[in-house]
């Protein structure tokens, strides 16, 4: 009979990892002529008065390392992890924002397709998942995948409530039309000179023309500047937005103008956050709220130990 163990925190669990790796440039084809043919100039944004804007994001956390000690196969690795997703809905007429649709999910992921019985942890609902690999990055990819699925469903739900949805991170092809992905880190540029020079030229409230990226699926994308930063380099305050190409260029233009005008309003003042201005105010508040929903890490680990070992942390069996 295999026995389950929960183990101490290991260093890599605390380390951040990028769940949103940008694909390499060689794999993508960029069409710069979908909106503007010929030379590019910065374009002004325009607020079309959209009433509800929903910012959707999620956070995740590794909570413990598991080991399934099988007498025949030897120890098998696993993790306990949690993620929370939710939305911050800005009602522009009311001048107020509220959190919506916050949910917390917990996973116990085991390697090599193992799916042992997991004990009941009071107050914490772990769902067992099996992963074919047995390394941490694979577990993390699985966790990220589950979270991405939920986030996509949430984006759909919010769009159904007549919100314009800004999702933190990239969108995928199943996303609805009335939503954009908001990408704040730039591992590379999709644009080559001379078009890439326009990025440096746009001011807060302006955007680049729309370009189309052909990857696994086609998407529209454009750059906006959130704030003109004193002492900033040419790309500081720049964010990239993407939307589904199935939107059509006319509707995409309306949305692109809207993001160029609206998102600078949500930019974090520079002195408040090291990640300002890209870390938008609603998203920062939402992440803080979601982390709160994940609960106290120490209490979670204690509950896990109680459930698995029958003794709290620090007590040797």
């Amino acid at each position: 009979m295999a026995r389950l163990y929960v183990e101490d925190w290991s260093p890599e669990y605390g380390a951040p990892f990028e769940s949103d790796p940008d694909t390499l440039p060689s794999e993508v084809v960029v069409d710069t002529a979908v909106e503007v043919r010929g030379a590019w100039e910065p374009l002004p944004g325009r607020d079309d008065g959209v009433r509800h804007v929903a910012f959707v994001d999620g956070v995740q956390r590794l909570e413990a390392r598991l080991t399934l000690d099988d007498p025949d196969q030897g120890p098998l690795p696993g993790i306990c992890a949690a993620y929370a997703i939710g939305a911050s809905v800005w009602d522009r007429d009311a001048g107020a924002s509220t959190f919506a649709q916050v949910s917390v999910h917990r996973l116990a992921i085991f390697g090599e397709s193992a799916a042992p019985e997991f004990p009941v942890v009071p107050g914490l609902d772990y769902r067992v998942e099996s992963c074919t690999a047995r390394d941490l990055p694979s577990f993390q990819a699985m966790l990220g995948g589950r979270r991405a699925q939920r986030e996509t469903r949430l984006v759909e739900a919010m769009a159904d409530t007549d919100c314009f949805v800004v999702k933190d991170g990239r969108i995928d092809d199943t996303g609805p039309l009335h939503a954009v992905g908001y990408i704040k880190s730039h591992n590379r540029t999709y644009l080559e000179p001379p078009h890439s020079r326009v990025i440096a030229a746009i001011r807060a409230g302006q955007r680049t023309p729309i370009f189309e990226v052909h990857e696994k699926f086609s998407r529209f994308s454009w750059y906006i500047r959130l704030a003109d930063m004193p002492y900033g380099h040419s790309w500081s305050g720049i964010a990239r937005i993407e939307a589904s190409a199935s939107l059509g260029i006319d509707r995409a233009r309306v949305i692109a103008d809207r993001t160029a005008a609206l998102l600078p309003l949500a930019a974090m003042p520079l002195h408040l956050d090291a990640r300002a201005p890209q870390n938008l105010i609603p998203i920062a508040a939402l992440e803080k709220e979601l982390r709160r929903w994940l609960g106290d890490e120490g209490l979670v680990r204690r509950a896990l130990r109680m459930a698995i070992h029958g003794a709290p942390a620090g007590v040797t069996a």
């Binding site: 809905v89 009602d91 001048g95 924002s97 807060a204 309003l265 609603p282 508040a285 803080k288």
Partner: protein, 618 residues
């Protein structure tokens, strides 16, 4: 209490109480204080009373009662002050960048509660998350210990409009005595509250006891003539105030006039009477006219005769200045006083006057004699002072008569005489001592005796206060009975019993403060700054009441009975709002008292007040 009874009580509580929130569990709750996070639709204001039930393992259910001492609100989720702009909806920051309403946050309202009582008395902190109810009805009374007061006297209304009580046991000497009222001057709250309290006392004879109707109140009007209208209806008194009075169980009426020799008010059962006395006007010759400007009828002039002055040892109250005690003047004064007592004899045909004559010079121990040609008939204080001078500062230049001066330095004797001479002028004490029929104050004439001394010199004010306090105290010492009560209302207590220095007046006040409780002599002392009053007097006051306080004053140790939050608020109290501290309730309670039906200033007197009160009645 059995478990079932307890359960039943709690079920009853929940019916009569409204839930307002839950005990906050961030940080610790304690048996002294806790915080309440409020329900969306509920509110708690400062001074509201609440209760919480706590399940204690192995014991059962405790009920913790408390009073709200602070009300708070915040945005949960805001980390920076400027987040408020991003949370609240109506703000656009400079340059058009940044608008309100982008940051989600929750408005959270909460209240701090100071625990007043735990029932049964087991000091256990309430559970975090426990439901908090507004205390109403019987629960409210329990929160304020009114259920444990043997003789609860309503003295005002709490924020909820319900009566706030004082346990009379702690005023009338049963368990404690005296009242101290503090507050800044100018709002006339202190004396008004004192009279309000006196009026409530007389309106609740069943609480005071069988001797209630014989309770006597002595009060000194020391500034203005504001206390001379207790029998006059006020223009400021309205229906709302009347309703508040009835809520306290007393029919609001002014006091009934009963000054001897004046046309009395029609008798009304249950209405306390008042008599006004004033010092006689100076330089008025033989005419005896009360020295007041605002009313002429219903007020009697008072003075002492030389006979009374000597018999009642009033000489000591001529020397009440704090510097007198340092100069050994009291030694001379005692000596002189004894001599006067030994030698003074009445003069036939001159009531109240005396001559000084050796006892062996009187035929057969006569009580009254004919004056002789060379003899000075002492008709005034001036005469007395001259006569004493004969013995202490002989014109011959001889040494003072040892029988009069005792063994003191010559300088002390002259200081004594200098002061006595100065005091006996008409503008000071002179007008208070003259021969003739006795015109002393009859404290039995009415429930309240108002003694108007506002036009007297400081020295003379202290003299009158000293003389009357002594008389009051001595009467009670002689009977040895606590009842009926004898109440003294004394404003500017710091003038009569200052923190520093010695004087016969201060000693007597300390004596009253310490022993008066058992003799039924109760002091209602008022002062602007308690810190300037002799601690012995203040510490003996069981009931403490405070109106608006000066900020520096409220930080002094004398106000240690108040909570920090109450102190902060005491700077802002409006007239009519007081903080009450009493031994029976461990936290100070803020109360309102209604406007009084009598005028508290000349311009408040209702115009028709002099008219026949029965006019218009068929």
């Amino acid at each position: 209490m059995t478990a079932t009874q307890n359960d039943k009580d709690i079920a009853l509580d929940i019916q009569t109480s409204e839930r307002v929130g839950r005990v906050v569990g961030i940080g610790h709750t304690s048996s002294q204080e806790f915080r309440v996070v409020l329900d969306e639709q509920a509110y708690l204001a400062v001074d509201d009373l609440v209760l919480v039930h706590t399940e204690v393992p192995g014991i059962g259910t405790l009920t913790t009662y408390g009073v709200v001492v602070e009300s708070e609100a915040t945005y949960e989720g805001a980390a920076y002050e400027s987040d408020v702009h991003r949370i609240a909806g109506d703000y656009a920051m400079g340059g058009g960048l940044g608008v309100g309403g982008l940051q989600p946050a929750a408005k959270v309202r909460s209240a701090q509660v100071a625990v007043t009582r735990v029932d049964p008395e087991m000091w256990v902190a309430p559970d975090p998350g426990a439901e908090v109810f507004r205390a109403r009805g019987i629960e409210r009374d329990r929160a304020l210990f009114a259920d444990e007061m043997r003789r609860p006297l309503p003295v005002g209304r709490g924020r909820d409009g319900e009566p706030v009580y004082v346990d009379l046991d702690f005023f009338d000497g049963t368990k404690g005595g005296h009242m101290s009222i503090a507050g800044v001057s100018g709002v006339a709250t202190k004396t008004t509250f004192a009279f309000f309290f006196v009026r409530l006392l007389s309106g609740n004879p069943q609480l005071v006891g069988p001797s209630a109707s014989n309770t006597r109140v002595l009060v000194f009007n020391v500034k203005g003539e504001d206390l001379l209208y207790l029998d006059r209806p006020s223009t400021e008194f309205d229906d709302e105030a009347a309703a508040a009075w009835r809520k306290l169980g007393v029919e609001p009426t002014p006091f009934a006039l009963a000054t001897p020799g004046s046309r009395p008010s029609p008798p009304a059962p249950g209405v306390p009477t008042v008599a006004y006395w004033a010092s006689p006007r100076a330089h008025a010759g033989d005419a005896l006219m009360p020295d007041v400007s605002s009313r002429t009828e219903g007020i009697a002039a008072f003075h002492w005769t030389p006979r009374e002055f000597i018999d009642e040892d009033l000489l000591q109250f001529v020397f009440t200045d704090a510097t007198d005690a340092r100069n050994q003047i009291p030694f001379v004064e005692e000596r002189v006083r004894a001599q006067l007592k030994r030698l003074a004899v009445d003069v036939l045909g001159a009531p109240g006057a005396v001559v000084l004559r050796e006892p062996n010079d009187r035929q057969g121990g006569q009580r009254a004699v004919h004056s002789r040609a060379q003899e000075r008939v002492i008709r005034t204080l001036h005469d007395l002072s001259e006569e004493i001078g004969v013995h202490l500062e002989p014109e011959s230049g001889d040494e003072p008569d040892f029988a009069w001066s005792g063994r003191v330095q010559g300088g002390t004797v002259s200081a004594f005489m200098r002061r006595l001479h100065a005091a006996s002028t008409d503008s000071r004490l002179g007008r208070l001592v003259r021969d003739g029929e006795s015109h002393r104050i009859d404290r039995q004439a009415a429930t309240v005796s108002v003694v108007a001394i506002q036009n007297l010199h400081d020295l003379a004010q202290r003299f009158v206060v000293g003389a009357l306090l002594r008389e009051t105290f001595r009467d009670k010492e002689e009977t040895g009975q606590r009842l009926p009560l004898s109440i003294v209302v004394l404003d500017e207590l710091n003038k009569y019993a200052p923190r520093e220095g010695q004087s016969p007046l201060k000693e007597m006040l300390i004596d009253i403060a310490q022993r008066g409780r058992s003799l039924g002599v109760l002091l209602i002392g008022a002062q602007q700054s308690a810190s300037r009053v002799a601690p012995d007097v203040l510490e003996n006051a069981s009931i403490r009441v405070t109106g608006r306080l000066d900020a520096a004053e409220s930080e002094r140790a004398e106000f240690g009975w108040m909570l920090p939050s109450t102190k902060a608020r005491a700077r802002l109290l409006k007239p009519g709002t007081m903080v009450l501290g009493q031994p029976a309730v461990p936290v100070p309670i803020v109360l309102n008292f209604p406007r009084v039906p009598w005028a508290t200033r000349a311009d408040e007197v209702r115009a028709d007040a002099d008219a026949d009160p029965f006019r218009g009645l068929v």
